[in-house]
Amino acid sequence: MRDILRNASLRSFRVWQRDMDVYLTNWKTEFLPPLSEPILYVFAFGFGLGSLIHKVQYEGRDLTYLRFMAPGIVAVAIMFWSYFETTYSSFVRMYYQRTFDAILATPLLVEDVILGELLWGATKAVIACSIMLGMLSLLGLVSWPAGLWVVPVSVVAGVMFSALGLVVTSVTKNISSFNLPMFLMIMPMFMFSGTFFPVTILPRWALAIAWCLPLTHVSYLVRAAVLGWTRGPFVLSVLYVTVLALVLSALALKLMKRRLIQ
């Protein structure tokens, strides 16, 4: 561990910069999903499903389904954009393109590469979530300026899911193996983390499990910010996400280093 801290350096920015350059080269296709996703969700769930639901009781207040659900899809986007980047995309760079090998022939060390990838995954989440926030704002679904709190949340949560993705990548032998954690971990989290319905309507035991899922805390924080609620017991969730982000980052560095250097 001490090795890792000593070896990681600002050079990891060069790896981040490489990924950013690719992203900007393909910006047209990269920007489309975060722009169109909120519209699709809003129509399908907000107007479609929402018209069947009179109102949602959340934290003692009545909300329309659309207002309840909108922050949920932002939280989901943070998870998907960072997790997918450091699983499928990092795997392609590592395994098929041998991009990491090429970088390791330069003064960068393996820690720089891993850290650069981790930060890039988080950056992708921040970008996507900011674009979505803008779109939802156009639909009048975001309160400002409290909505700005979503950005720092997306930074920390982005690092967390990005690190989670790298941990998964470090133990994945081939690209189709990503399906397993996808269906056992990411999809359940996507559906049961207070994203599309309040976790409080779950049975007691399921509620306890839901609060163990990192996305539950992220959607709780994002929803509070988007709805403009600046008072509440946020400290625990902030702490949970931050600590998990640090622990998973350390684990990602350790495991990816083992994977890359044999």
Partner: protein
């Protein structure tokens, strides 16, 4: 020459790499002088690639030491990598960028100034005859072009030591000769070159010295020409469709006889009169009398069994 100049460019002492029970490299020691071109020869699995990957800081040695220009590969990996250029066995050009951008991004990893990199990149593209491909996507390049671009990329940081792992494997003769020409061109710059190959011709064309490896060990080393004569002599006789009388005849001559499948190899100690002797005694015998090559040395040392 001061004492610094005389120090070797590459120094390896008892370098060992173990993977569980498998010992890929078993205590190899060697030196490469500054400005020298040295080739590592050996069949697949001989330990060549593992050795050069340890020298270029990709793999930590299990034991032993290696240094480049006096910098230990384990203690000072960043400084070592600043001094070397690496051309890996498999192309790992960045497929997300076009040719020029590949070089620009690579230069950034070295922390080089953008303008300096641009100028050098243009020079290097001219050097490897790819100037007209500067904005081509990597996918549009042929195998030989990719190889040349990898070579250009390896030279971007003006390395003092160039490490080439099978630089011409899978290339057609034109592309191979183009790469050789470039490598020879580097000699005049005083660049030290370490390359691995299993093309004997490549080694004899390029190298001042070859090091033959097998089973993770160095079997022998020396200048290509002297090595051939010392190990197998000057001449090789290959014969096929032969009878017992011919085999008996060769057995009586001083030299080494080897039978592989339905082919006979004879390495005579005295090669001057061999041809005349054959013409007198076995004029009808189908045979080929040729100069011994590095390939004969290689096969003598590492055997003829297939390696995978």
């Amino acid at each position: 020459m001061d004492s610094r100049e005389r120090k070797p460019a590459i120094l390896a002492r008892e370098l060992t790499k173990r993977y569980g029970d498998l010992e890929a490299v078993r205590g190899v020691s060697f030196e490469v002088a500054r400005g020298e071109i040295v080739g590592f020869l050996g069949p697949n699995g001989a330990g060549k690639t593992t050795t050069v990957r340890m020298l270029s800081c990709f793999l930590p040695p299990t034991s032993g030491t290696a240094s480049i220009h006096d910098l230990d590969v384990r203690q000072r990996p960043r400084d070592v990598k600043r001094l070397i250029g690496v051309c890996p066995q498999e192309d790992n050009l960045d497929p997300d960028f076009h040719v020029m951008k590949n070089l620009l991004v690579y230069g950034r990893y070295f922390g080089l100034d953008r303008r300096v990199v641009r100028d050098r990149a243009l020079e290097l593209l001219a050097f490897v005859a790819l100037s007209d491909k500067a904005h081509a996507p990597i996918q549009a390049l042929s195998g030989g072009m990719k190889r040349r671009l990898v070579l250009a990329r390896a030279l971007l940081n003006e390395p003092r030591v160039l490490i080439l792992d099978e630089p011409t494997t899978g290339l057609d003769p034109q592309a191979r000769h183009a790469i050789w020409e470039r490598i020879r061109g580097l000699r005049s710059h005083g660049t030290t070159v370490l390359l691995t190959t299993h093309y004997m011709e490549e080694a004899s064309q390029l190298c001042d010295r070859v090091i033959v490896m097998d089973g993770g060990k160095i079997l022998l080393e020396g200048a290509p020409s002297g090595l051939v004569e010392r190990e197998v002599g000057r001449t090789v006789v290959e014969a096929w469709n032969y009878g017992d009388a011919f085999v008996q005849f060769l057995r009586a001559l001083p030299g080494r006889l080897e039978e592989v499948g339905d082919r006979l190899y004879f390495y005579p100690e005295e090669s001057d009169h061999v041809e005349r002797l054959f013409d007198q005694r076995f004029p009808q015998q189908e045979r080929l009398i040729r100069r011994a090559t590095l390939e004969d040395v290689f096969l003598k040392l590492t055997g003829r069994a297939l390696r995978d």
